[in-house]
């Protein structure tokens, strides 16, 4: 069973709690008052906008789901966090062998899979 190790000193326990609570309060406050981005240049797409309230969307649960997506899309310093996330994925996906073979996999399992559209020169 997981043994519940506690901090040795109250002062460090306080700092630990403060360094969790303060960032979430401060970032939460910033996210409420900062100006929303509308476009993501890195992803080349329009970001979700604040959903409009309606009783139907509230009852169906669409309003809250749309709000979650909007909040994630307009999160403060989103592009900075996205860069870290790319590094996390790259770390998990790094090649374990020294082979230079390149394999293109298309399983048709993902809607984002490459579908084979031709590239045309302008």
């Amino acid at each position: 069973m997981e043994k519940e190790y506690r901090m040795n000193f109250n002062i460090f326990a306080r700092i630990s709690v403060a360094l969790f609570v303060m960032p979430i309060i401060i970032i939460g406050a910033i996210s409420a008052f900062d100006k929303d981005q509308t476009v993501s240049k890195d992803e080349n797409r329009t970001l979700k906008q604040k959903p409009e309230f309606s009783v139907i969307s509230l009852v169906s649960g669409d309003l809250t789901k749309d709000f979650d997506e909007y909040y994630a899309d307009t999160f403060p310093n989103r592009s900075g966090f996205m860069k870290i996330n790319k590094k996390i994925n790259a770390f998990f996906s790094q090649r374990a062998t020294g082979s230079d073979n390149i394999v293109i996999i298309n399983r048709d399992n993902d809607e984002n899979d490459f579908k084979g559209e031709a590239l045309t020169e302008k």
Binding site: E2, Y5, F12, A72, V103, N109
Partner: protein, 471 residues
């Protein structure tokens, strides 16, 4: 609302902290927690909050009547009535359509389907409310005269949606009176962040592997690809569910509640019986205390009692035949272990008993994952190389070698290695005050890094609910 969403971490949680710690009395703190919990539930399922309130109110009335008529047949009648009503609500929402379509296909009838949809967490909170009525009847728990306090027990947001299944007797005193000391709160923060990392960093990555390999067409899979896919799912479901439990326990500590542990490194078990003492402990405890022992336990009709428990365990996970097969699959292995296998497993080297357990559990996840019986059969035949399926192909090998790092990290995270490191650190910290400080500072830095990594993973991913939400 899900714990692994930015809305929860950066809007809901700060507001909850501010309101909770501004409240002066335990009564006010309970009102804050109750209001926030109802809001938390309504965020994802505004329609079904009525079902949650109804189920809680039925058990509340049942508890009052059981207490009033204690020692008479009326108390037993009240218990039966409240349990039957609660289970009926569960059956209507979760199982009616399954039963109706089964009857329709077997007897060629035309029973209409309700298509109501499943209220989130209904299986968890129904079982919780049942423990309350039963324990009041057994005299283990005091009756709760305040509906608000009973509702708080049922719908407290840390454990409302995916457990652990908290028994009323374990939490009763804490609802009436509790204190948070700073070391408990700090432990809660660490535990919450560990759980969040399991979900946001490991389970979601494993989920991507599952999606890419076994969620779609299985025809292109080799034996290796099928095993990587289902091992990926074994990681996903463990990190997803145990991560949720860690977050629930951590949040509980931040608000002064001590919840039961729900996981204890299940993948290192040396038998299937041991696995079920380490996996979803609160569900196993529920079935042992409220079904298996009342049926007679191992005193009479042992095999039949086990069969009922494992049938119900399968059913609890979902209204589909694959879950029932999954439950019965474990019944077979537990019976075999009871008959002769346990003696053999105790004699052979641990590594082999662990490999046996892992093999049974991983194959078991195939039954759990595939609701389509045709695909389930196809997956099993690919995994065991039937029908001339190649062992490997260039795509599956490349896929595996590109994710080997993840698999190594996931394997380590399933074992108690981190716990041993922590034990060593705390032993080291006993040497001097400076060492104690160093360990505390390491803990703080570790938490901060996890918060940044998890936030990044959540910003970079789309909506990703927990797997156990649908149960």
């Amino acid at each position: 609302m899900v714990f692994s969403s930015l809305t929860f971490i950066y809007i809901f949680l700060p507001i909850c902290f501010i309101l909770y710690y501004s409240a002066s009395s335990i009564k006010m703190k309970n009102i804050v927690l109750l209001s926030m919990s109802l809001f938390f539930y309504a965020w994802g399922e505004p329609r079904w909050i009525v079902v949650l309130l109804l189920s809680s109110y039925v058990e509340y009335l049942g508890g009052l009547r059981i207490d009033k008529y204690k020692g008479t047949w009326k108390a037993k009648a009240s218990l039966i009535a409240s349990v039957v009503i609660s289970l009926s609500i569960l059956v209507i929402f979760k199982y009616f359509d399954f039963f109706a379509s089964t009857v329709n296909s077997v007897f060629k009838t035309d029973i209409g389907l309700l298509r109501l949809g499943l209220p989130i967490g209904i299986s968890f909170y129904t079982f919780q409310t049942i423990t309350y009525s039963v324990d009041v009847y057994r005299g283990r728990a005091k009756v709760q005269k305040s509906f608000a306090d009973l509702l708080l027990y049922t719908c407290m947001f840390p454990q409302l949606i995916a457990g652990p299944i908290v028994r009323y007797v374990d939490i009763d005193e804490q609802i009436r009176d509790r204190k948070v000391n700073i070391k408990d709160a700090s432990y809660g923060v660490t535990r919450f962040l560990i759980g969040l990392s399991k979900k946001a960093l490991l389970a979601n990555f494993a989920g991507q592997i599952v999606k890419e390999l076994i969620a779609g067409d299985l025809n292109k899979l080799s034996v290796l690809g099928a095993w990587i896919g289902i091992i990926g799912y074994s990681f996903q479901i463990y990190f997803d569910f145990s991560g949720y439990s860690d977050m629930a326990i951590g949040l509980g500590h931040m608000f002064g509640f001590k919840y039961v542990e729900n996981f204890n490194y299940p993948y290192i078990s040396k038998s299937i019986s041991e696995f079920w003492k380490r996996w979803h402990i609160s569900l196993t405890t529920f079935f042992r205390e409220y079904v298996y022992i009342p049926l007679g336990g191992n005193r009479k009709n042992h095999a039949l009692n086990l069969l009922i428990v494992w049938f119900l365990t399968g059913m609890w996970h979902g209204a589909s035949w694959n879950f029932i097969i999954w439950g019965l699959y474990y019944f077979v292995f537990i019976m075999l272990e009871n008959l002769f296998l346990r003696k053999l497993l105790n004699k052979i080297p641990r590594v082999f008993s662990r490999l046996y357990t892992l093999l049974v559990v991983i194959v078991g996840w195939v039954f759990f994952y595939f609701e389509d019986i045709g695909k389930l059969k196809q997956m099993l035949s690919i995994m065991f190389g039937f029908g001339g399926i190649p062992f490997s192909n260039v795509t599956d090998f490349a896929y595996f070698s590109n994710r080997l790092f993840f698999f190594i990290i996931a394997i380590i995270a399933c074992t108690p290695v981190a716990r041993y490191v922590k034990e060593l650190l705390y032993k080291f910290s006993e040497k001097s005050l400076r060492c104690e400080s160093l360990v505390d500072i390491t803990n703080i830095i570790f938490n901060l890094i996890l918060l940044i990594l998890c936030t990044s993973a959540l910003v970079g991913s789309s909506y990703n609910p927990f797997l156990y939400f649908r149960f």
